[in-house]
């Protein structure tokens, strides 16, 4: 299990290779990575603030809960903070298991918890204006699935 909270840019492809190569106990690997999106064409940047200490604890806890709940061989979570540009990778989750259902479900569970239980806050910049991204009721409701 590896949890990283970092300002540095990372390459999800290279991380996936490192995560999944050279093992014979993995029948299935699922990855998700989130990207700074700009659907209106005017986003100039994104700032992600976090709560050092609590962030790492919260990510470790949710990764441990996923490992307890599903038969996982390994879990990877990388989440960036600081300033980013449209198209930049924000975070990634990878899960590995002997079987695909466990890997898919655990990755979905991790993402639902990361969205509304990990202490990150996004702020979008458009020109001179900055706005905190509001949480979505559907993200909170998604936790009821688990």
């Amino acid at each position: 299990m590896r949890i990283a909270v970092q300002a540095e840019v990372f390459d999800p492809g290279a991380e996936l290779t490192r995560f999944a190569t050279g093992r014979t106990d993995l029948g299935a690997v699922v990855t998700f990575h989130g990207v700074v999106r700009d659907l209106t064409g005017d986003l100039t940047g994104m700032l992600i603030e976090h709560y050092p200490g609590m962030t790492e604890n919260a990510l470790n806890k949710v990764a441990q809960e996923a490992t307890d709940r599903w038969d996982l061989a390994d879990v990877l979570i990388i989440h960036r903070h600081g300033t980013m540009a449209p198209g930049d990778v924000i975070m990634m989750v990878a899960t590995a298991s002997a079987h695909r259902n466990a890997a898919f479900e655990a990755a979905d569970y991790l993402m639902d918890y990361l969205k509304s239980r990990a202490p990150f806050w996004k702020k979008e910049r458009r020109g001179d204006q900055t706005d905190w991204v509001a949480s979505k009721a559907e993200d909170e409701a998604a936790l009821d699935r688990w």
Partner: protein, 81 residues
């Protein structure tokens, strides 16, 4: 105890962290105490349904006890992922 603020709560209060001497028994008592201090706290906590709280880095609610707490943090609903 150390009181921390994040995102727009931090911006409204004007500092990321401060040490506060308090005898507040619960988070809600601490919020009431802060709101009486100055307008910037009153503004930040004017709608507590929009604010989340962690005591010693564990997410909790406003009824939570502060007995033995070292660190309390206030912030908006999280937007990770």
């Amino acid at each position: 105890m150390d009181v921390l603020y994040f995102a727009w709560v931090r911006e409204r209060i004007g500092v990321p962290r401060e040490e506060i001497e308090t005898k507040a028994a619960t988070v809600a008592d601490l919020v009431d105490e802060l709101r009486k201090r100055e307008g910037r706290y009153d503004l930040a906590f004017s709608d507590v349904t929009a604010v989340r709280v962690a005591v010693d880095q564990e997410l909790t609610d406003f009824d939570a006890s502060l007995d033995g707490a070292r660190e309390v943090a206030f912030f908006p609903p999280m937007t990770g992922g």
